[in-house]
Amino acid sequence: MAHIVFEQVTKQYDNGFVAVKDLNLDIGEDEFLVLVGPSGCGKTTSLRMLAGLEDSSSGHIYIDGQRVNEKSPRDRDIAMVFQSYALYPHMSVFENMAFSLQLQGTAKDEIHQRVQAAATQLGIEQLLDRKPKQLSGGQRQRVAVGRAIVRDPAAFLMDEPLSNLDAKLRVQARAELSKLHKKLGTTFIYVTHDQVEAMTMGSRIAVMNQGILQQVDTPQNLYDQPNNVFVAGFMGSPAMNFFDAVLKPDDNDLWIDAGALRLPVPETLRSRYQPHIGTPLILGIRPENIYNPKFAPPGVNPLAVEATVSVVEMMGHEEIVYLTLPDGSEFLARIDPRSRFTAGASIQVLFDMNRFHLFDKASEHVLA
């Protein structure tokens, strides 16, 4: 259990490239924090700075109130699971797991007992005599996790530990890691580029882009109230639809005018958006908040929008429909599978005007 704080942490490489800029992050004890972002966003660099594998250029990193910037990795009491697993190829699974305990000078009996306990917990006790090359991908991943948990460290750092597994195993391993976190009650810091992993496992998610922390929040809040266009577009699959828009007053109403789209702002939000009339905006709406009028739930704005179907992807439990507006702009809708739309058809869809997002076009920030 550890309380980890990043304070104004910046990493600049010798060639001038800034990998992480002014990172401020407070990670509570027993939290499962997921660092997520596209490749090159600085998430792995942040993790490596916490592990002590890379120096920070400025700022402070604290573990349990102690500044650790100058401490070597072995003095930080953290365990790390690498993307490649980094199992020692010349050692058996048992030796791999016992390595850190041996270095600590733990008694042989205790090493044996703790490795056995960890192995049982992960279901790898029958593999203890094998060498890493005799293991499958999933087994190697478990051994890598096992190597971390035998140490009982203050925090677990994981760098995309599931990205080398096939899709089915990954789903399974995801649930297992979540369970493990609940059981151990230790701080987990988990790096991934996969927003599904972030959503399913994190108690909080920190979204990073181009070295800058974009937003930290619970998965649900992040999904429902994204701070900016990047977070809105990154979380969720298929991604949110964006349209260039502008707010226009009309009689007593306030309208969002986005080319071929003309949507009314609900009464409750009018006063909030009033000050932004006329400024260039971006309208964001998630594909699942667009409905086929036939299957729309009550309370959805009854104003229909005309669009042409270009592609239909039937998923079984839903239809993903690629739509084109008369002005040529394209968007996606996740629609009830009973709709049975066909490509080329001209259809009507409803936009749920209780669930849309407006961003300032210049700053890409959500409107206050």
Binding site: L53, R74, I78, F82, Y85, L87, Y88, H90, Q104
Partner: protein, 300 residues
């Protein structure tokens, strides 16, 4: 019917295919075998010569033994007996081992440490240091003979085993560091970092991770270094001088030829004895060259 014809045609196709494969590979096989025979020929000649009578050896070439084939009477082991008993060969053999073994272990030990530091430790001037070491590869050792010998004379090291060990260590080090650094530098970074996070110091990372994983490179350098030291005449001659009590096999062999080159029979036998050790070393370490020791550590 159709099934039978089909089967037959497919069979004939495989035969044709096989012939084609064989014909395509034939030039390569032929060349390889020819080269192998060519390289073995002098050794075979040496072996045959060492088993012949001294008088016959001086009169005819070794290939004449083939004219009365299978006549085993033309061979004898007398040359070997003579070399081993009378010519100080046994002592020289021992000296060679006393020189070669430490002169192999010392540079390996130092070069492996240096290679690790150059590959995985951050310190200023690391790259320049490595370039200088690589640069030393092209310095001919003859250039160093006089200054080192003078230093040895003042230090009292000439004519001693220690002096030869140090000289060989110095001469072997640039190649050793170069080879080992390149190998150790290719070890997966994740492994080194995982060990660091697991709580290992540089020394522990070196002894527990890097050395076990570098055995193929260490073994091949060991073979290089051992063969070089074992076969060396120049360094031994310069630093040991004429001191017969510490002379290695190469020095004794040179003396075996005789003043007028008449003692051929002893030279061939002695040379063949001196070949045994390098062969043993090579075959003993050969299994470490097997690739794939790293398989399974990281994805791939």
């Amino acid at each position: 019917m159709t099934g039978v014809t089909k089967l037959r045609s497919s069979q004939s196709r495989t035969v044709a295919d096989r012939l084609e494969t064989w014909l395509t590979a034939a030039p390569v096989h032929f060349t390889v075998i020819a080269l192998a025979l060519l390289w073995t020929l002098p050794t075979a000649g040496l072996l045959i010569s060492s088993l012949r009578q001294p008088e016959v050896l001086l009169e005819t070439g070794w290939w004449t033994v083939l004219t009365p084939p299978l006549d085993l009477n033309q061979f004898h082991l007398g040359n070997y007996a003579a070399v081993l008993s009378g010519q100080g060969m046994a002592q020289a053999f021992l000296n060679s081992l006393i020189i070669s073994i430490p002169a192999t272990i010392m540079p390996i030990a130092i070069a492996t440490f240096a290679a690790y530091a150059l590959a995985w430790m951050q310190f200023p001037g690391r790259q320049i240091l490595f370039i200088i070491i690589v640069g030393l590869l092209v310095v001919p050792l003859q250039m160093t003979l006089i200054p080192v010998l003078r230093a040895y004379n003042t230090l009292g090291l000439s004519g001693t085993f220690l002096g030869v060990w140090l000289a060989h260590t110095g001469y072997g080090m640039p190649l050793g560091i170069y080879l080992l650094r390149n190998y150790i530098g290719t070890l997966p970074r994740d492994l080194i970092e995982a060990a660091a996070v697991d709580g290992a110091s540089h020394l522990k990372i070196f002894t527990r991770i890097v050395v076990p994983l570098s055995t193929p490179a260490i073994a091949s350098f060991a073979v290089f270094q051992f063969l070089w030291v074992w076969n060396d005449l120049l360094v031994a001659l310069v630093y040991l001088g004429g001191n017969q009590t510490v002379a290695p096999v190469t020095l004794v062999l040179r003396n075996l030829v005789g003043d007028r080159g008449q003692d051929w029979h002893l030279l061939t036998a002695g040379a063949f004895i001196s070949m045994i050790v390098p062969l043993l070393v090579f075959f003993a370490l050969q299994r470490y060259f097997v690739r794939g020791l790293l398989a399974g550590s990281v994805k791939g």
